[in-house]
Symmetry: C2
Subunit: 464 residues, 2 copies
Amino acid sequence: MFGIILAGGSGSRLWPLSRELYPKQLLNIQNKESMLQETYRRVLDIIPVEKIVNVTNIKHAPNVKFQLSKLADNPVVISEPESKNTAPAIAMSVKYILDNYSGAKNEVVFVVPSDLKIKDTKNFVSSVKDAEKLAKKGYLVTFGVKPDYAETGYGYIKIGDEIDNGYKVKKFVEKPDSKTADKYSQKDGVYWNSGMFMFKPDVFMKELEKYVPAIYNIVNRFDFSKGDHIPFTDFENLPNISIDYALMEKSDNLAMTVLKSDWLDVGSWKSIYDVSKKNIDNNVKIGHVLDIDSKDSLIYSSSKLVATIGLENMIVVDTDDAVLVCDKNRVQDVKKVYETLKQQHDNTQMVHKTVYRPWGYYTVLAQGNGFLTKMIQVNPGQKLSVQSHNHRSEHWVVLSGMAKVVLEGKDLILSPGHSVDIEVKAIHSLQNPYEENLQIIEVQKGDILDEDDIIRYEDMYGRV
Amino acid sequence: MFGIILAGGSGSRLWPLSRELYPKQLLNIQNKESMLQETYRRVLDIIPVEKIVNVTNIKHAPNVKFQLSKLADNPVVISEPESKNTAPAIAMSVKYILDNYSGAKNEVVFVVPSDLKIKDTKNFVSSVKDAEKLAKKGYLVTFGVKPDYAETGYGYIKIGDEIDNGYKVKKFVEKPDSKTADKYSQKDGVYWNSGMFMFKPDVFMKELEKYVPAIYNIVNRFDFSKGDHIPFTDFENLPNISIDYALMEKSDNLAMTVLKSDWLDVGSWKSIYDVSKKNIDNNVKIGHVLDIDSKDSLIYSSSKLVATIGLENMIVVDTDDAVLVCDKNRVQDVKKVYETLKQQHDNTQMVHKTVYRPWGYYTVLAQGNGFLTKMIQVNPGQKLSVQSHNHRSEHWVVLSGMAKVVLEGKDLILSPGHSVDIEVKAIHSLQNPYEENLQIIEVQKGDILDEDDIIRYEDMYGRV
């Protein structure tokens, strides 16, 4: 069996914790591991590392690789040059599998989003086995979940005749209006689509050719065994469409197996509230929170003190550069805030004050006329690219750990409290070859202070 | 006429905007001027600068002086070494007036808190004139405001016989329980105490001697014309009591004049909401706020983005290191948050955002055009670098501990309450060679106020 993990989502409804450049699947909200890592671990139980293809946006690829490499050596990560919803991502991944693994035709492919919470591994594995049997018979297999309420954000599956370990699908309705959702959610023989799929790759490609030739034709032109990527100029011609609208609503070759495990789509702050442990007043408090008499609320603090008094059914999320305060019944509108900020080019939608990089992260502490100050953490064994800047000088002070700096070909080792000046155009690199985290303060000075003012000479993360 | 402006309050109910070291009277929330400055301007219309005594806590004295000096030359500011509520502050100020101005006995003293909003200057001045006539006749004069509702946080005045421009007072009840407040607020002939007072200084001292000898005896021992201050060791023996409980509830020599102007005690976030301009949804939005569908709410952002969705009747206040989210009917409980933080030694109650240095830390209390104020803590045995600044002068006041200052080669030892001026380009250092923490207030002035404007000559942390 092959796996495809969809790791390209934006998670706009979990703003301000998720950002365009650090989406929800990368977050660890109350856990040690991110949702992506939890998903990868779940799939690794069933499928070996070399047969799991993680597909993500090129913007997230370094972070995805970094997170996955903590769980397995050499995770397979392929990138879309642009976000185009699930249909192009799955099509590209299936073609990648067909091109790179001989004999893949005779196996099945299991597609999993990276934002599902599933705890009951045993029943999950058992349902995957059920689906496998159906997929091998030539069906596009979905996993059905018994509806709890009239959710309009999911797809609904109306089942027909029983077949081995599942049902034929009579009808698939993606994101119905609230009247239809209401009707469906109360009806027997109707299920939510869990977002996971299973199929034989050649079955998938045939259906794709039939119903979405615009995707089939482009994807089929490339041979991914030659390390080919779909260039941006071709990729941008792909339709921006989900697999649900593109194939599932149209195909008459669908089957469904009932997902026997628990299941939660972590799509909103309400769902985070729902899965989190509550105190006696039904509050979820995370971080530095001081509350008086609130109930049924989620209060999240990234670092600062958040004091709350008398809240009911509220969501409060505080991050370094943005705060959200929202009625718990209005969490779907967080997406509107995200879209508004994007339209306004307000970069609190795009980045955190803290920006994650393959080598660690940095946080902008302060900026002003002609200067910018960052706290930079370089993780053990990591190295920033060998680089120079045309418009800024930099000054580094080591806070903790030890830094190896190469400046104009000369090696320096800096311990806490020591510093170095890097003049405009000087070729330099920063490295942490030690076992402790390295933290430095960087002060940039210059007329132009822009992340794009960088010439890279060497880079261990392939960014040259 | 003399004036006493009470500028020592803590404003715990306006946390997190007000802090122990930067209380509400110093804040400018939606205005160009702080409440203290507005109050001073109002009193300057009636009384000349040299006859207005501003009394505050020693911790706030540098900021009070700085703010007042923008409105008049040489404002008179006297300090309490410790906060002891209004009775000791007024007693000390009256004695200061008697000692420093010959002929003060024959004039009257007007006492004004620094957290009242009054817009109608004409009627305010007219009420002051009414009170003056009563005070000259030997009454302790209060200013009455017609109650709007059953507030339990104010004093209530029950009037008796009419006298010139006012009434004799039958009864004065400070902060009644809610049942009594309810009864009083609906009764004719009952007024709120506005917090302002007027009296002849010798009348005040006689009443003080009669009802609060514990204050009279200590205050009377000092001669303020000799520049005397009440030392901490004496001051700490003064009872911690308001003028309302100490004198007003007891004296049978009270009169009241009706305050003909508008009046608002800015004591809570609700009152800030009430006086602020609202949009069509009855929201007050200050700073970087993005709202969807909220109403009847106050949303305040100091710097970050605050996004709100579907709020009703809420207070949201965001500052650099703390966020408050509070039901608008629960604003009195903000004080509980403040007290809890104080008990927990959480310094988000005391100061704003703190920056740690090898020698201790500093917190920016306030900054504006041409000035910046910090609270600086130097840990025992630590020393800041020997330094000078090209663009700013500095003024240091010791709050606690002892400071060793070297200024242009000269050694100075400063104890609490003492201060030193450091001119532009003067070479100076600050050291705490003792065993207690040293805390100082620093006021920087200059066209360029930048951490980078520093020339270091010597530094025990290798930062030269």
